[in-house]
Amino acid sequence: MNVLTDNFPTYWKGFLGTVELTVYASILALVLGFVMASFRVAPVGSFRALGTAWVTVLRNTPLTLLFFAVLLGLPRFGLVLPFTVFAVLALGCYTSAFICEALRSGINTVPRGQGEAARSLGMTFGQTLTSVILPQAFRSVIPPVGSTLIALAKNSAIAGAFSVVELLGTYKTLSELGYNIIWTFVWIALGYLIITLAISALFNILEKRWGVAR
């Protein structure tokens, strides 16, 4: 029980590390996922091919392999950055493929007539997109994006094994100090539960506020 109280700073640092990874990787994943989703629905064939290739490859890549290649491979090209940045890069790129699919299926749920009506009112492409299609797509996209980001938070544990400071990695320090390993893991598990439940609560609020009324 006193594992937590004795080592609160260690846990807190790990917890913040996981939150930091999750937040930065989420931002990267959302931005990149949006770009790739727009590629996948673009009228230009080569954009579509690029988006499809990105999604197909990354969705079928084991995340450990991606971490392995990015964290240990990129430095060989003379690209030396902190491990956390590499971890955010790997995690963000990996998750962007799932975000992309969620966004694309959201856009595809908007009925064709909506866009046709907007265009026949004389709206430009930008106007159609920002004031007709995206607001409607946004509604149906909230739950899948939420569960993707929860998966991201859970996947961030892999970074700990590649010597990035985060929650799971704290077990090493604590077991070296001779604390009860089972309690150590109980508190780590609780930390992850707090993060995933917080994300899910956030998306529940978003869903209540903007979710599609079925």
């Binding site: 595809n108 929860i150 859970k154 892999i158 780590i188 992850y192």
Partner: protein, 293 residues
């Protein structure tokens, strides 16, 4: 091909009309420009690879040796072994948990729900590390146990939603015929649900296959581990990039084949009139939002 055909070709989208001749020319220009850009990017990466001497004879030599080929194959075999065991066990655990969640007895239902929700919310790696470090199991058992607990819980949800998605009339008709619950399940609901669920189950198995690579982190001697051994060999000038270039296509290829199988299956299902009763949500990725099923 007429323009109308082309419009039917890709998914119907509200984003743009069928392009006219002028727009088509512009799109073709964008296409050429972006292709050039991608080619330039590929060229730059190739240049970097050559510039950092990744294609030297020494670095690629190890793959010619029988011992090293065997090491890689053994690693691949271990990966597939862990996947096979974990897949079978997760299907079994998933069935058990789904039965629990669909039980008529409240305590059983509660217990199964708690189990499923807990293991879906935990990162699978935390579970694997817990089993490996705290329960001091062997790497293979720890990996398989972790994967089974997680994927079994996810599959339980797939099974449950699949059973519940079978049209209500089927269940009612079966009960009206005087069947017992077990009979309703085994003769009426499960056969219909399984057909519709197959794509979701296979997609979840892809996740399990991908996650076997977590074994690398607990020193299970799987594919990635074998790669790491070769990559850290000084005799061959640390051939890390060549190793990645050999391993990733194999790994990604295996997952892709399984994913394509799932897609092919779901396409076949969609044409099959027998299954349009049940519409199962995809299992991936991971957790659904609690309280939102």
């Amino acid at each position: 091909m007429s323009r109308r055909m082309k419009a039917l070709d890709h998914d119907a989208t509200a984003l743009y009309d069928i392009p006219g001749p002028k727009t088509e020319r512009r799109h073709r220009l964008y296409g050429v420009l972006s292709t050039l850009l991608v080619l330039a990017l590929v060229g730059w990466v190739l240049y970097l690879l050559f510039d950092t001497d990744q294609f030297t004879r020494t670095k690629w030599m190890p793959f010619e040796y029988k011992g090293i080929q065997e090491l890689l194959l053994r690693g691949l075999g271990n990966t597939l072994k862990a996947f096979a065991i974990a897949a079978v066990l997760s299907l079994a655990l998933g069935t058990l948990l789904a039965v629990g969640r669909l039980s008529d007895h409240k305590p059983v239902r509660r217990l199964a729900t708690l189990f499923v929700e807990f293991f879906r919310a935990m990162p699978v790696l935390v579970m694997i590390f817990f089993i490996y470090v705290a329960l001091k199991m062997e790497p293979l058992s720890a990996l398989v146990a972790g994967l089974t607990l997680y994927n079994g819980s996810v599959l339980a949800e797939v099974f449950r939603s699949g059973i519940n998605a079978v049209e209500r009339g089927q269940r009612e008709a079966a009960y009206a015929l005087g069947m017992r619950k077990t009979q309703v399940m085994t003769h009426v609901l499960v056969p219909q649900a399984v057909r519709a669920m197959l794509p979701a189950i296979i997609s979840q198995l892809v996740v399990a296959l991908k996650d076997t690579s977590l074994g690398y982190l607990i020193t299970y001697e799987e594919f990635l581990h074998a790669g790491k051994l070769i990559a850290s060999n000084l005799d061959y000038d640390l051939p890390f990039i060549p190793v990645v270039m050999v391993i990733s296509p194999i790994y990604i290829g295996m997952c892709m084949v399984l994913s394509w199988f799932a897609q092919w299956m779901s396409k076949r299902q969609r044409r099959n009139p027998k299954t349009d009763a049940a519409d199962v949500a995809a299992a991936e990725p991971g957790t659904l939002l609690p309280g939102m099923q």
